[in-house]
């Protein structure tokens, strides 16, 4: 059975209508609303074919049809046309980032909020991550008479701190010197590369402060492990409650459970990293609890190999083309802000 033009028109009509109304679409509706020049009976015959091909399905015997995941896939891959952002939306996008945001985590927070407001779906976003496993700079600073601060910058200029408590802290100069030594030895290393050889080297360099070495090494391990953990921000989960798909409390609850699991979200974002735009429809999602949703992800870049990912979660009948264009717009914007932030917003103003 061939997927001729007319079948495609009908499929498109069904998808458009269902995205809009969330109600199964019947042949008469299509005949009346989209004047394809054929009668409802003919549409019925075609729909019967489309169902046989697995592109649409019937929730129950005497109801209209809804698109299947496979139907959406066909739509997304071949039928959908890119939507342009409305002026309002463009303006809003600009507005959200025009404020001088200069801390990455606020930028993430604001972006997630804006996207969930703009799309009415749920949004999650991971911060830009590059060479985060590798030590770029490592230093020590005195805080007070019993605490020392360990500062580690990773390859992607991500900074992580750790306060080390001890009985008494050496003088400022000694600490400075220790930090320099530490840095000389460990610069460029990843945590799993710090083996016996490296440690002996450190012992040699820091001979005077043997007793401090152990707590410092432990602090480095803790800090690097923490640095490797990627932060993810989530917003707009409540939007999902507005969709009839989730008026069943049980379904809503299990979706919310998934959305609260940051580890799961990170994994999802990791998996799609690299693709400019990735779309996973319903059952295509590997994560349980997302099988009733579609997830669209977009990757943004910040120089080099430093990247982050944005994900939008909606019902399978989400407005794919709108989400994609908003995401594209937002990626542009974030990249702009990050560029501005990383090469000197301090110079102007």
């Amino acid at each position: 059975m061939a997927l001729n033009d007319r079948k495609i028109q009908i499929l498109q009509a069904i998808i458009n209508d269902y995205i809009e109304t969330a109600e199964p679409v019947g042949s008469r509706t299509i005949a009346k609303k989209y004047n394809l020049g054929i009668s409802s009976a003919t549409i019925r015959n075609e729909m019967s074919d489309l169902e046989e091909m697995g592109l649409i399905l019937q929730p129950h015997a005497s109801s209209g049809r809804i698109p299947s995941d496979m139907g959406y896939r066909l739509y997304v891959d071949h039928l959908m046309q890119q939507k342009e952002l409305s002026l309002d939306e463009q303006k809003y996008l600009q507005g959200v980032i025009s404020r001088d945001i200069n801390q990455i985590d606020y930028l993430m927070e604001e972006t997630a909020k804006a996207l969930s407001l703009l799309t009415n779906y749920a949004t999650f976003i991971s911060e830009p991550v590059g060479q985060r496993t590798r030590i770029k700079q490592i230093r020590l600073l005195p805080l007070d008479s019993t605490s020392l601060l360990l500062v580690i910058a990773t390859g992607d200029n991500f900074i992580k701190n750790h306060v080390i408590k001890m009985d008494s802290v050496p003088s400022e100069e000694k600490i400075f010197y220790m930090g320099i030594c530490l840095n000389r030895v460990l610069q460029g290393f990843a945590l799993n590369e710090i083996d016996g050889a490296v440690i002996s080297k450190m012992q040699a360099e820091l001979q005077e402060y043997q007793e401090l070495l152990e707590p410092i090494l432990k602090a480095i391990e803790i800090t690097m492990r923490a640095a490797e953990k990627v932060q993810v921000h989530m917003s707009g989960a409540r939007n999902m409650l507005a969709f009839p798909e989730f008026s069943d409390i049980q379904k809503a609850k299990s979706l919310f459970q998934t959305l609260e699991e940051k580890d799961v979200l990170v994994t999802m974002l990791e998996e799609s990293k690299g693709n400019d735009i990735q779309i996973l429809i319903g059952s295509e999602n590997t994560v349980q609890g997302m099988k009733d949703c579609s997830v669209i992800t977009a990757t943004y870049k910040m120089g080099d190999n430093t990247r982050g990912t944005i994900g939008i979660v909606g019902p399978t009948r989400m407005d794919y083309s709108q989400v994609i264009s908003v995401l594209n717009g937002m990626v542009q914007n974030i990249e702009g802000v990050l560029r501005n932030l990383s090469d000197g917003n301090n110079k102007n103003t």
Copy 2:
């Protein structure tokens, strides 16, 4: 009309039953279940009085009674008896924190998760904050040929970083020296105290690096503003969906909206800071969107004046005494972990 013993017994019965079942409680139920030695008719008369006093109310003409906010208030203030933690719960509490958590934000995250699991309500928690507006130590570190790292430690050992971009970064020694100067001048100051006098002093000290002063000052401002913003972690919002009170999607949505607003949560926690345990019942909440809920907050301390707050949100018929005992237990635990974390978990092991 006096609130005699019998009335109190009846009120208590109504509250207990309603907390358990979420169904309006009738006179016959009370007569059968709680043998107070009086007939349902007598109970009806007493209930009529209790209603007149505003302690209970009737959802509709021929239904049983439910406690009013005022009724809960009386219960919480005078009738409720402290519940002991079950062994399982005590064990769980221990287990949650026995893992070696050494980053404050993970501790917050884990605590919120544990509490929402343990109580089946929603939990939010603010990190320990003390002298966060005051600079305790300030330093500069070189990151690479075009970026400088500003590190600020505030009075409560909270660390905040900021990467400053510039055309070229001076030598390590010069930066070290600049950092020391900066520290000498600014130590002990709050952002709003850095006035003309202080700035001229800095200009004098850093004469050689006039052109760096402006970006550094700007970075200090940004960083201190960010430091002042208190982080809050939220968990278990989905639990609220399990309660019949929120089976109305609209109500659920507006509650979720409030729970997603971190600023609102911070305000709520701030307002209750200082009180060991604070209970706000239904309409007593100033925050719109929480008027159908009760919020119990507890303050935990970390030496000096450094404090954080935990909040538990549930329906007004929440299990107050259980939540209070769990909160008390958790405060003990957190304080333990923080104490351990701040006076040298690095020494042992």
